[in-house]
């Protein structure tokens, strides 16, 4: 595991998952799923701004923003996924909570294998986890592009 660059919020989420047995990890993922915030109105009205994630089984889309507060650039991550797709919603919600407020450099430095370290492979299957890995990879790429532009 490549831990050096992992921000505290993502460390805490991982510790929460790994402290549970496999069945309860699913319940925690369901809680995340229920906590996924609505996409802000300015994006909800313009879904074409959101980037689709075809690697997920459900129609899911996201957008990252960089906002400067207290002189420091901060990342916000918004995602939309239908209620009938709780697994994808759970993945998106983990990233929404784990990425929110990080600096762009911190986001870019998140190890790409983070989703594989949550102990979810036995709970949801490795194939389904690919959707979350893709979501993280795309979010990192989008933030890197915003930094460069």
């Amino acid at each position: 595991m490549t831990d050096a660059a992992l921000p505290d919020a993502l460390v805490a989420i991982r510790e929460d998952f790994l402290a549970l047995d496999v069945r309860d990890r699913l319940q925690l993922l369901l809680e995340f799923s229920n906590e996924l915030p609505e996409v802000p109105e300015r994006f909800a009205a313009r879904p074409e701004l959101l980037e689709p994630v075809p690697e997920c089984q459900a129609p899911i889309a996201f957008i990252t923003e960089i906002e400067t507060s207290d002189g420091e650039p901060r990342v916000h991550f918004h995602a939309s996924a239908p209620p009938g797709a709780p697994t994808s919603r759970g993945f998106a919600s983990i990233l929404a909570q784990g990425l929110d407020g990080l600096t762009p450099d911190q986001v870019v430095a998140i190890p790409a294998d983070y989703p594989l370290t949550l102990g979810l492979a036995e709970a949801v299957s490795p194939l389904r986890l690919r959707g979350m890995t893709a979501l993280l990879t795309r979010a990192k790429r989008q933030v890197a592009e915003r930094l460069a532009s």
Binding site: P54, Q57, P86
Partner: protein, 305 residues
């Protein structure tokens, strides 16, 4: 004690094997009956936890039915452990239901059939219809008392085809269940689905393309027999596939789940005895070395042997 067959639906009576389906209203009335176990099997692994039919247990294709190492299904011992742990014995009536018009439920039914479980049925319309009708859902886990289930060897021969069987079969009817874009080779995976990595796009020579969803009405239930005959039979005017009871048929898709749905239609609703599902499907065929494929909208010709 055997659980009665649902004889309340006139539509079912027209099917070849009406005992393989139950309606939502029949299930609502029979919930909790001794000898009946309801099983939810979904694409989304968390959907069951968001609310399920009262008393239903969960079986997940990825986690429960697959062998974790070999690309294959569990063996007789694994199957016995799984079903016993869900309170299912060999004489239990199983009713399967799930999301996406029962794709994964039909897949589970097909796998259960590899082990010859005698009485396994689908809930017509699946989870969608049950939810749309505002029927009861619960998040509480059922109290399941494990029961013994015998170790029955899996019998792949009759309803499962391997790559070698498909090569041998060429010249006989093949039904490709995927989207038209996957069939022609424009794309190698389903829109909005994980890329499962096929190196070649196209279809197995001579396969005809009938996307699985054509068998399903808007409320996710199966179309009446006459409409199914129109699609898979001669269509009255030759517009259908022309399949009949004397044909030997193989169905396939991407990983074998959508084609289980069509396998169910051909086998249990239309009563065609010799239908096999090729679960290796395009993720195997599209990557296999030196197997013939055809690109484009035409079925193509069987290679000369």
């Amino acid at each position: 004690m055997p659980v009665a067959v649902d004889d309340t639906e006139p539509k079912f009576a027209e099917y070849a094997h009406p005992e393989r389906l139950v309606s939502t209203s029949w299930l609502a009335e029979h919930l909790g009956e001794p000898g009946l176990v309801v099983v939810e099997s979904d694409e989304d692994v968390l959907l069951y936890e968001t609310g399920h039919i009262p008393g239903a247990v969960k079986i997940d294709w990825h986690l429960d039915l697959n062998d974790p190492l070999v690309r294959d299904y569990v063996d007789g011992e694994g199957f016995a452990r799984l079903l016993g742990s869900r309170g299912i014995s060999r004489d239990t009536t199983i009713v399967l239901y799930g999301d996406r018009s029962n794709w994964w439920a039909a897949y589970a039914l097909w796998v259960f059939s590899l082990f010859g479980h005698p009485d396994v049925r689908l809930l017509d319309g699946g989870r969608e219809k049950w939810v749309a009708e505002g029927r009861e859902l619960t998040i509480s886990s059922p109290d399941v008392a494990p029961v013994p289930y015998p170790v029955v060897p899996r019998e792949d021969g009759a309803i499962r085809a391997f790559k070698e069987d498909v090569l041998e079969h060429l010249g006989n009817p093949l039904v490709d269940i995927r989207s038209p874009q996957e069939y022609t080779g424009e794309r190698t995976h389903m829109p909005d689905y994980p890329e499962e990595g096929a190196l070649r796009g196209g279809h197995i020579p001579t396969a005809r393309n009938v996307p699985w969803a054509r068998a399903v009405a808007e409320d996710a239930s199966f179309r009446p027999r006459a409409e199914l005959e129109g699609i898979y039979g001669d269509g009255g005017d030759g517009s259908g596939l022309g399949l009949g009871a004397d044909d030997s048929i193989i169905t396939y898709c991407r990983i074998g789940e959508r084609s289980s749905h069509t396998w169910f239609v051909l086998t249990h609703l239309l009563g065609i005895p010799d239908v096999r599902n090729y679960d290796g499907s395009w993720t195997e065929w599209g990557n296999a070395v030196r197997v013939p494929i055809v690109k484009g909208a035409e079925p193509g010709l069987a290679p000369v042997r």
